[in-house]
């Protein structure tokens, strides 16, 4: 009885192994067929594309537009890139944003930043030029003009100077009221003006 059972088991496992190998073969056949049909339809589509005027027109349009907008890199690749300094020369033009991650800096923004820097530089240069020009007018007049300039000055005598110093001392030592200080200064100033006028003219 046991023997029969064992034989049955053997029979079952043999049939299992046959069906498994058949399955494998069938799968292989199917995949080969699929691959074949895929390749066939690929070739067919390749031919269709090659003969299609619509595809040609699409390509032509795409090429025409791209040719206009494409600007080849100006620097030679050898200058742009070198194995040892990749991190310095050609880092991606991205910036970190608040939420983490990165964001591309658009060409317009780069242009704006560059433009601002250039404008700032131009303004600085202009400022320096204006300053130099003004300084030249004030500081270095022609030597001949200087020589012809009439001498203009007020030579205060000792008494006048003494009275001015006294007045200043009194104001500083605070022994005059403010109104009187002003009045005294005013008087002193008027006196000085009239004296100066006499001397000058």
């Amino acid at each position: 009885m046991n023997h029969e059972k064992k034989n049955n088991n053997v029979h079952i496992s043999e049939s299992d192994s046959i069906s498994a190998s058949e399955m494998k073969r069938a799968q292989k056949y199917t995949s080969e067929k699929t691959l074949e049909s895929e390749q066939e339809s690929e070739c067919e589509l390749e031919r269709e594309f090659a003969a299609s005027p619509e595809w040609n027109a699409f390509g032509k349009t795409l090429c025409a537009v791209h040719d206009v907008i494409y600007v080849a890199p100006k620097k030679s690749p050898a200058n742009v890139f070198h194995a040892n300094d990749v991190s310095v020369q050609v880092l991606p033009q991205k910036e970190t944003v608040a939420g983490g991650g990165t964001r591309y800096i658009s060409r317009a923004r780069r242009f704006a930043v560059g433009g601002s820097a250039a404008a700032l530089l131009a303004l600085s240069v202009l400022g320096v030029l204006i300053f130099v020009s003004n300084s030249e007018n004030v500081v270095t007049p022609p030597e001949t003009a200087l020589a012809e300039e009439p001498e203009c000055g007020w030579d205060a005598d000792d008494e006048e100077l003494d009275s001015m110093y006294q007045l200043c001392d009194r104001v500083e030592s605070d022994d005059m009221f403010v109104d009187m200080e002003i009045a005294a200064l005013d008087d002193s100033f008027n006196q000085w003006i009239s004296d100066s006028d006499e001397d000058l003219f």
């Binding site: 895929e38 027109a57 494409y70 658009s106």
Partner: protein, 183 residues
């Protein structure tokens, strides 16, 4: 020895840059319709190509390697921004081309842009991607499927539908032209 291999890789990278910069840029431009964005992602592509240079050997041709990186970089960009390909705003920005061609050229260009825009409108983002890749890389559909990491059958059916959409669009254009001539 290590220096030699680095030097060799640097030389190879420079060759890639010269040979493939324009077509990678063209592919990215076709999908973004934004020259500046295409510039940035092309730059990103070549930097990544250098960073992943060691994995290149296992991955076949340099062209496929670069287009795969470009495609992933573009998808990453849109995923981060939560945007879709080819929106109206970028098309409008393209109309004001910064290259400022002569008036006649400008008219022709704006006509080309209008035509391209209308063609692209008829295509889904995947179709746009397949056709642009096909045009600029000149690769077979099987290679395109490999780059975009989608099954070949899917690529083929998208490409076929895209071609049908282009035919319909151009057929409609021809009908319009005929009608206007009759009038």
């Amino acid at each position: 020895m290590k220096d030699d291999s680095e030097e060799l890789m640097s030389k190879r990278w420079n060759e890639w840059f010269v040979s493939y910069h324009k077509i990678i840029h063209g592919y990215l431009f076709a999908l973004t319709q934004n020259p500046h964005l295409a510039d940035d992602i092309t730059q990103e592509t070549f930097i990544k190509a250098w960073e992943f240079r060691k994995s290149y050997e296992e991955r076949g041709t340099p062209q496929a390697f670069l287009f795969r990186i470009a495609s992933r970089s573009l998808n990453d960009f849109y995923r981060k921004r939560g945007e879709t390909l080819c929106d109206e705003e970028t098309w409008a920005a393209l109309d004001c081309s910064s290259n400022q061609p002569l008036p006649e050229e400008k008219m022709e260009l704006s006509e080309e842009i209008r035509r391209l825009r209308e063609m692209m409108k008829r295509l889904s983002p995947v179709q746009q991607q397949i056709l642009s890749l096909r045009y600029f890389s000149q690769m077979k559909f099987a290679e395109i499927a490999d780059i975009l990491e989608i099954p070949l059958n899917t690529v083929l059916s998208h490409a076929r539908r895209a071609l049908t959409a282009l035919r319909e669009k151009m057929g409609a254009d021809r009908e319009d032209e005929n009608r206007s001539e009759d009038l």
